[in-house]
Structure formats: C-alpha cells, structure tokens
C-alpha cells in the first residue's frame, strides 16, 4: 500500500510538472503570435550540436567513430531512451554526428 501511495504521488508529481510545462508553452504562444504579427519570423534558438553532444554523450563515454546516417539514427534513438534525451536534443546530437 505504501508503494502504491509512493508511485501515485510520483505520477501526480510528474503529471503536474507536465501540465505546468504545457501551460507555460501555451501561455507563451499568444505572445509569440503577436510578435509574428509585427515582425518577420525568427527561427527558434536551436540547441547547439556541440554542446548537446558534450553534455549528453561525453558524460558517460568516449566519442565513437561515425556510422552511416541511418545506423546513427537507430543508435541515437536507443540512447534517447537510455539517457532520457529529448527529441530536440537528439536531433542536435544527430547533427553533431553528421559533421
């Protein structure tokens, strides 16, 4: 029962974080739309591939040699799950590995 309560609390906490994160995104959308209305669209600041690779990959292992792009996609998806990497960060790492 204690475990159930702990897991429930954990799920509620994660849900709250998720909701707050989503609310923050929604809240920022009208402002972004207004900005688009008065000035040309500027691309969202992308994650630096070098920073992403060094932060997420080098924290555990040395840099591997390059593989073909489609094998790299598979390996990065594997690491996306294992190392809890967001899709944006994974894309930046793919860019780093394609350089």
């Amino acid at each position: 029962m204690k475990l159930f309560n702990t897991l429930t609390a954990l799920l509620v906490f994660l849900s709250l974080v998720n909701v707050l994160s989503a609310a923050k995104r929604v809240k920022s959308q009208p402002a972004a739309k207004a900005a688009h209305a008065v000035q040309p669209a500027t691309p969202r600041k992308a994650i630096d591939p070098d920073v992403a690779y060094k932060a997420y990959c080098s924290r555990c292992h040395v840099e591997p040699r390059r593989f073909n792009p489609r094998a790299t996609v598979t390996i990065v998806r594997h690491m996306q799950v294992r190392a809890n990497i967001t899709p944006e960060e994974a894309k930046a790492i793919l860019q780093y590995l394609s350089q």
Partner: protein, 364 residues
C-alpha cells in the same frame, strides 16, 4: 536459459530485423534516403537495424586468488517506424577462478540483460515493456558496459543496482527551463525465477535534474523490494564534467536495509593536454576512485558473497590507467588497496574492452 527458448528469441529478433529492413528498404522508398543522402535530408527519416555491443576480458589478482572474466554482450537494435524501438542485449560471461594449491574452476553465465520494446509516445514520455535494466543510480543503466566504465572493476554498491526487471517502465525528460531538464523513470517489476530471465518483484524509479550547460547531473533513486522480505533501497548520484579540462567526476551513495550502505567517488582525466609524449598521452586516461561499503547487521557472509559484496565493512582506493588504441578498443590496468577488519589486501586488475557495431543496412 532453456536452449529452445534462446533459439526462439534469437530467431524472433532476426525475423523482426528482416521485417524492419524490408520496411526501411530504400529501393521501396521513393525518397531514397541512403548513402547518397544530402545534408538537406538530414536527419534520415528512418533508421536501420544495428548489431552492437561489447566484449572484454578482465583479470583480477588478489592475494592467493586469480579471477579471469571474459565477457561478450551483443545488442540488437531494431527501429520500427518513427516511434518504436526493439532492443535486446544478451550477456555471456565466464568466471575462471584459481586459488593457491587449488585447481581452476570455471562456469559460464548466460542471460538476457534486457529485451524491451520502447514506444516514444510524446517528446516527454517513453513507455517501455519487457525486460529492462532497473533504473536505479547511474551505474546499471549508464556505466556497466566494459567499454564505457573508466575503472575496470565495478564499485561495491553497483551490486545494489545490478538487477534486471521484468515489467513496465515510464521514462523521459521534461525541460523545466532552457538550462534544466527533469529526467524521470518509474518502473514495476514482476517476480521471475526462470533461469536467464530472473527478476525480483519490485517497484521504484529515479528522478534527476540535469543542467546541460553546466554538465551537472544530480539524481535520487528509490526501490521497494516486494518479494519474501520487503525492504527499501535508496540512493543519490552525481555527475559533473569540468568545462575546460577533460575531467569527469562521478559519485553515488546507496543504502538498503538488507544490503548495507556505501558510496563511491571517481575522477577520470583524459590526458589530452599533457605536453609530454603527446601521441601517447592523448590516448591515455588516468582514473582514481575511493569507495566504502558498510555491511548490514545480521546478514550471513554467504548472502553478501552471493550478491558480490565484500564479506565485511570495506574501504578501497583504486588508481587506474586506460589506453585507447582506438575509439572502440582500450586496454587498462588498475591497482587498488582494500582496507577491511578481516584483512587488508591489494587488488590488481588488468583488462581490455572492445565495442563493436555492425549496421544491418544503410551503407558503410
């Protein structure tokens, strides 16, 4: 593991890989994403199955004992569409031991480290089902492969977390601010006594804050064992990479009522900037680790030995050196001194580790 079951699992994985290859056949894809892929098409829409993994040979010398530990751990990764990934790792490790005036003994352990299907449901959430590495601390999920770990020997308390779970897991990363990610993993495991698929009935998870810009991670883990004896295990962990020097610091603390408690702190420095013998030094790494284990009261020596834990309280300092012959092959050696009420001892370790990767398609 039953031989028929092993063959069945391998055949199934091979068939799935063939199906995935057929799905990702560029000749069937009008976009034709392959070797000739241009930068504009990057990243490719789909991956190809990959066989990867590592093998190693680690030898430990302690007074009167010699242990040889060959290990091979192949991994197969099969992407299905853009949301699914099937991944499995088998592990075959040998244990060849010899004590003074005793004959050599040996045995081979075979098992499925993990065999799981991942569904990347949303950008913040991944659902995992099957057999997976228990998300506790940083060693089990992140550092246990021989080619990744900086010190050849695992720390004492890695035995607290070196378990596999059979069940389901939710995990992901939620960016709280541009500079902070909240990583989470929660799991429930059912009990299994099938050889090679054994698992304990347990639930728990890990939460951590990761600061990518500062390269700092701080995590907490919790596990409630729900089998025979019910008890909690909890831990904290930390990773930090210095921004201007190639130095990694890692550490963990864990405490389990029936397992005891302990911690380890490790620093690994890649000697890229050492001006002497640059060709040699840039491929070298020095490692130092300090660890301590406090044995639980009322637990027999045999139980601790079965868990791979020291038989009594122990402190150990280790100094190691790794030389990377290539990004995939390293040799290493370490010297450690263990301090314990049952006797101090030297621990010498030498070994090598090799990482292999074979893409099953997509060109070279």
């Amino acid at each position: 593991m039953d031989r028929k079951a092993s063959i069945g699992v391998l055949l199934s994985l091979f068939l799935i890989a063939r199906i995935a290859l057929a799905q990702s056949d560029p000749s069937a894809d009008p976009r034709g994403s392959n070797d000739s892929q241009s930068a504009a098409d990057f990243p490719p829409k789909s991956g190809v199955p990959v066989i990867t993994g590592d093998s190693g040979f680690i030898t430990n010398f302690t007074p009167g004992n010699q242990d040889l530990g060959p290990v091979i751990a192949p991994i197969i990764l099969v992407p299905l569409g853009s949301k699914f990934l099937i991944e499995a790792e088998a592990e075959f490790d040998g244990d060849y031991s010899h004590s003074t005036n005793q004959p050599w003994t040996h045995r081979w352990n075979k098992g499925l480290e993990y065999g799981q299907i991942d569904y990347l449901a949303t950008k913040d959430l991944t659902l995992v089902a099957g057999r997976f590495l228990t998300p506790f601390g940083i060693y089990n999920e992140g550092l246990h492969p021989t080619w990744i770990r900086d010190m050849l020997n695992a720390p004492f308390i890695a035995n607290f977390e070196m378990t596999d779970s059979n069940g389901a897991m939710v995990r992901g990363a939620i960016p709280l601010t541009p500079g902070v990610d909240l990583d989470y993993a929660g799991f429930f495991s059912a009990s299994s006594t099938v050889t090679g698929f054994d698992a304990t009935r347990a639930g728990g998870g890990r939460l951590s804050l990761f600061f990518p810009g500062k390269r700092l991670g701080i995590g907490v883990s919790f596990q409630r064992t729900l089998q025979n004896q019910r008890f909690n295990t909890a831990g904290v962990d930390l990773t930090y990479q210095f921004p201007n020097i190639p130095l990694n610091i890692r550490g963990e603390y864990a405490n389990g009522r029936l397992l005891g408690s302990g911690y380890w702190v490790e620093g690994a420095y890649r000697m890229i900037h050492v001006p002497l013998a640059h060709r040699f030094m840039r491929k070298s790494q020095v490692v130092a680790r300090w660890q301590q284990f406090v044995a639980p009261g009322g637990v027999s020596v045999g139980v601790l030995d079965d868990l791979g834990l020291p038989e009594a309280n122990a402190r150990q300092c280790d100094f190691g050196w790794n030389y990377y012959l290539s990004d995939a092959l390293k040799v290493g050696a370490a010297y450690g001194r263990r301090f314990s009420p049952i006797g101090d001892m030297n621990v010498v370790t030498v070994g090598l580790a090799y990482r292999f990767t074979f893409p099953l398609g997509g060109g070279k």
